[in-house]
Point group: none
DNA sequence: AATGAATGAGCGTTCATTCAT
DNA sequence: GATGAATGAACGCTCATTCAT
């Protein structure tokens, strides 16, 4: 039965990402249970409080983001890798509301998952800069903030894409160098 | 008595901006009444539902933003006006614009208040472009989206400021002109 | 409307004494509301937690007991007054379960209400002893404990009465004095 | 395997006496399983409902009490035996007898276990009376009620002991004999 | 026979909304 | 017009009970 339990846990987490992504903290635990196709008791068996459920959801989301960033990091040209990852992280966010901001004081586990993402982005950025493909004066903080801002803003996909183009242009090194 | 009522309406709106700005949709109507110094019944007399109250709050905020943008539009240099307004709109609205996304389907009145803001931004953008101070290929849609994205993202104020600098750099015309 | 609110408060307290008296802590706040004929929200408006409601109920009960004890204290013969009050306090308890024991750590207000009762009993006891109608070596603590024990025990009323007779006999002064 | 099952049943009953003795009906079946070192399913295999478990616990306790009373009955002096048993029954059962009152309508099996105890007390009482060591007009009903009352009352152990002394004094034959 | 994951009714509590004063 | 007491639906969470393994 261990495998059933794990499967349920995963379905609950997936449902939670949907629900809290759509409705933020206003999403209800009951709704999560309904979408996961399990009883409310099962949700609470796996995550003892609503907050614990949200934290686990956020961590899962951040882990996915970190994975996205790292996966691309090994590919060839540094500038292209940086830009492609930037685009993917912006458009890949399945939740449109800022999941992370749901937590007042983020738990330590959440913080460390976020650091993981930031570090992955930082590595891509550093390579891009070494290759001369990204402005030398941009820091991880700003770049990661831009990714978060664009990933969480609502609006037409095409408009977002063009806005990303503009931002990536701003991140290119000045041609006079 | 009409003026009393109007005064109450204004105090309620001001309190609502505070409360919902701090706590989002989780802020309670009772808390709004308390801060406005009126009874809960008075709040509901002026705004028949919580949603109506939030909408009115958002509209008030958007109207203020439109006003800010228009006021700036008449001042001297076009590129500087555009950039200053961009900065003001990003930093002047922490967490308040997020209310718009809590509305689900925004009411028509909210939409039209938002269009007002977009148009004001559009005018500033057009002038900046005519003056050669802003990239000719940027459109209002992208610019307004960037403002919204940066206004709603959480994070250190200083980091946000530097991110805005990067974006405004990206919006500058290419030096090859 | 102040008087309506007070009336409701009283009906809630009376219902709570019934419900918690019958079912102890297992009695539900909803049941209290139902018996009081008010909505659940009204119960919580007057008593912000279930615990606060139980405390208020207990205090009311203790105040009634203290009143019973004091009222009798002014009447004529000291020994008779002591015994009559003892009987009244045992049989007058409308709640058959030990309301007081419902509280883990009793709140300060509850403690002081209990002290009030103990003091009233103590005064009656002292007078009885001065009049030579009650054993001189009995202390308030024991007497009050006997009252509590007999008030809370279940069983046939007639049997309780005879048990009280036996106890009061034990509290009489030894005839050899 | 039959002996394994019986061993489990006993461990569950012992755990139940602990848990419900401490927390009354608020004690949870899961906690009983945990302390018994078995799965929750095993508890419900042996006792189909929580109520059945509590009943079995109470019956076990009453049987022990009856045994105590009977064992003492055979020892030497009748008055001393009666008084010693009275004291033991009062102090040996803190909070556990209270479970009986949580049962609402006690099951027939519980009633008959209680009758067993009452009868054992009755026998001790009769012997004490025959020996002239206990008041002739006291009946089993009153005596058993006094034991129940004192066993269930909360309060300082020393105070309870002195209250028992007073009661036993009241049960002594009048010195005029 | 034993296990423990799953279930869902029920509880305490909150809060938008109504309405008698 | 203003007030605030009353209402009850909805939420987070617990726990007795069931059942697949």
């Amino acid at each position: 039965m261990r495998s059933d339990a794990r499967a349920n846990r995963d379905r609950v987490l997936a449902a939670a990402e949907e629900v809290f992504g759509e409705s933020g903290n206003a999403g209800s635990t009951e709704e999560v249970a309904r979408r996961a196709g399990v009883g409310i008791g099962t949700v609470f068996r796996h995550f003892p409080t609503k907050r614990a459920l949200i934290e686990a959801t956020v961590i899962r989301h951040l882990a996915l983001q970190a994975h996205t960033a790292r996966a691309r990091g090994e590919s060839g040209e540094a500038g292209a890798a940086f830009r492609a990852t930037f685009r993917e992280m912006v458009s890949g966010a399945p939740a449109k509301l800022a999941l992370v901001s749901l937590l007042g004081e983020p738990a330590a586990a959440v913080e460390s998952a976020a650091v993981e993402v930031r570090d992955a982005v930082g590595e891509l950025l550093a390579r891009g800069q070494q290759a001369g493909a990204v402005r030398a004066d941009a820091t991880v903080d700003e770049v990661y903030l831009l990714i978060r801002a664009l990933a969480n803003v609502g609006g037409d996909r095409a408009v977002v894409d063009r806005a990303v183009d503009l931002v990536l242009d701003g991140l290119s090194p000045p041609p006079s160098a």
